[in-house]
């Protein structure tokens, strides 16, 4: 038996044991599905939800909120990070503003999200944006500040004569691995903001919305189903992004680091 199958088997065994313990605790010790739904309650709820057919719509709506927030965070965070990392003046100008806004918890923006955007998809996107923007900005900024000088100088002697060319052909590719890790962190934060962003009724679908809706209906097995789906989708997003980055974008980087 090789390492990989050993790892899989042990992992699966532990999962089964955890599920059995959960089932025993839920049925024989707690005994009330409202307080702790059992594994079978949750499985049943999952099958019912599959039948009723909104799971897919929920996932799509949530991904839409998430996508809007993340894309907005990328479109603003990367360029501002580049400006601040490359141009001293931009750094001096923007740094105080950023330092004041950054410690504000993303969810504290919810009131203004509603006032500015109403109960819309954009409002949910804005909350996710508030969570994802700063990790992307700071990662881009510090990645640009740590581009090795010799690369920039090599670029200059080889004919990059504008800041734009140096950024486009030297600094950005050099900074990309660090920016990609920043984006991964931002996606994690953004996904965590999703449940809260969908809490205040911007839509009648969405994984976060359904979580709250089923809580109000006291359908706790359904709540657990949505919790697990939130976890799985979050994991899948992270995996897909990481695989894409490692395989396509940054094949060179794997060989450069320990």
């Amino acid at each position: 038996m090789n390492r990989q199958t050993q790892k899989r088997l042990l992992g699966a065994a532990a999962l089964v044991v955890a599920a059995v313990i959960w089932q025993i605790v839920a049925v024989y010790i707690v005994g009330r599905s409202f307080i702790l739904p059992s594994v079978t309650d949750v499985a049943e709820a999952f099958v019912n939800l599959l039948g009723s057919g909104t799971l897919l719509t929920d996932a799509v709506v949530s991904l839409e909120h998430f996508g809007i927030g993340l894309i907005a965070a990328l479109l603003l965070g990367v360029p501002i990070g580049i400006l601040m990392g490359w141009f001293r003046v931009a750094d001096f100008l923007l740094d105080p503003i950023i330092e004041i806004l950054r410690p504000i918890p993303p969810l504290a923006w919810i009131p203004f999200a509603i006032i500015w955007f109403g109960l819309t998809t954009q409002a949910a996107g804005f909350v996710i944006f508030a969570g994802a923007f700063f990790p992307i900005l700071t990662a881009t900024y510090s990645a640009f500040r740590s581009v090795p000088k010799v690369f920039v100088e090599a670029g200059k002697v080889l004919g990059c004569d504008t800041s734009f060319e140096l950024i486009r052909y030297v600094a950005l590719p050099a900074a990309l691995p660090a920016i990609a890790s920043g984006i991964r962190i931002a996606m994690g934060v953004g996904w965590m903001c999703l449940v809260a962003a969908e809490m205040f009724g911007v839509s009648n679908y969405g994984l976060g919305y359904q979580l709250w809706h089923n809580y109000y209906l006291h359908q706790m097995p359904n709540v657990v189903v949505y919790m697990l789906i939130l976890g799985f989708v979050g994991l899948a997003i992270d995996r897909i992004f990481r695989n894409y980055v490692d395989a396509r974008l940054l094949r060179w980087h794997a060989g450069e680091v320990a």
């Binding site: 010799v150 090599a154 200059k156 002697v157 080889l158 052909y169 590719p173 060179w252 060989g255």
Partner: protein
């Protein structure tokens, strides 16, 4: 094609405590068009600093560098540089590293890759054209860096110990390649080396710098035709003379 005039050049680096490191002091040197100059001198005497000032990557504290009567104010692809340290772009394959300068000039992809391939072949790395720098050994990387500087076809080529990391055999081959390239293209070359043997083998003139602060201690013309015979007695005589001169410079300090 270009000659380089260095006049009363001094460079002081400020240090944290308010004092300065005087790296170069009153360097005067007239480098003729198509010359092959070797700079030798003890470690820390300012050889790299001098090359960087000629390249336009560093500004002199006083004095000037002019090329064909025009003062150097900043980097220019007409002055190619092979850095002492590792400077390949790790995110580009060998061929795209070598083609970088041509890409900046706006040369189309097919054409610039063709040119790059020629230089890659010259440094003996055709098999590695699609490799990333991390897949190469230190000496191979340095050869790519040389090909990258050459592919840009500069008038003045500044080389900072380019063969320092190579084994003796590759080093000899690269020296021959560089000479034939220099004879074909008539570039002006300023070449830093720690090897007196290499300097005598390659250069039209050897410039011996004094220990820090560096200034020109001696200029030794080597008027022989290439290829030169390392085993000849004249060769050994000149090599001995230069070595003695470096020793004296260091002891005089």
């Amino acid at each position: 094609m270009s000659g380089v005039t260095i006049r009363d050049l001094s460079k002081a680096f400020p240090r944290g405590d308010g004092t300065v490191t005087q790296a170069l002091e009153n360097v005067n040197l007239e480098i003729g068009d198509t010359e092959f100059i070797c700079l030798v001198g003890p470690s820390g005497c300012g050889k790299t600093t001098l090359l960087r000032i000629i390249a336009g990557l560093e500004t002199a504290t006083s004095g000037s560098v002019t090329i064909d009567g025009r003062a150097v104010t900043g980097p220019d692809p007409k002055r190619g540089m092979v850095f002492q340290e590792y400077s390949l772009f790790p995110w580009r394959k060998v061929v795209d590293n070598v083609a970088f300068g041509l890409e900046m000039k706006g040369v189309g992809k097919a054409e610039r890759r063709k040119t790059a391939d020629r230089y890659i072949e010259m440094v003996g790395l055709s098999q590695f054209r699609d490799a990333y720098p991390f897949e190469l050994s230190g000496g191979m990387r340095q050869r790519v860096a040389i090909a990258r500087a050459l592919a840009n076809d500069p008038d003045v080529l500044l080389m900072d110990e380019p063969f320092g990391a190579l084994d003796a055999q590759t080093r000899n081959r690269m020296q021959k390649e560089l000479l034939s390239l220099w004879e074909q293209t008539k570039k002006t070359i300023v070449f830093v080396t720690h090897s007196v043997d290499e300097a005598v083998y390659l250069s039209t003139r050897i410039v011996v710098l004094s220990p820090r602060p560096g200034s020109v201690r001696e200029v030794i013309p080597i008027p022989w035709q290439h290829p030169r015979d390392r085993t000849s007695t004249e060769f050994a005589d000149v090599r001995r003379k230069v070595l003695r001169m470096i020793d004296e410079t260091e002891n005089a300090q």
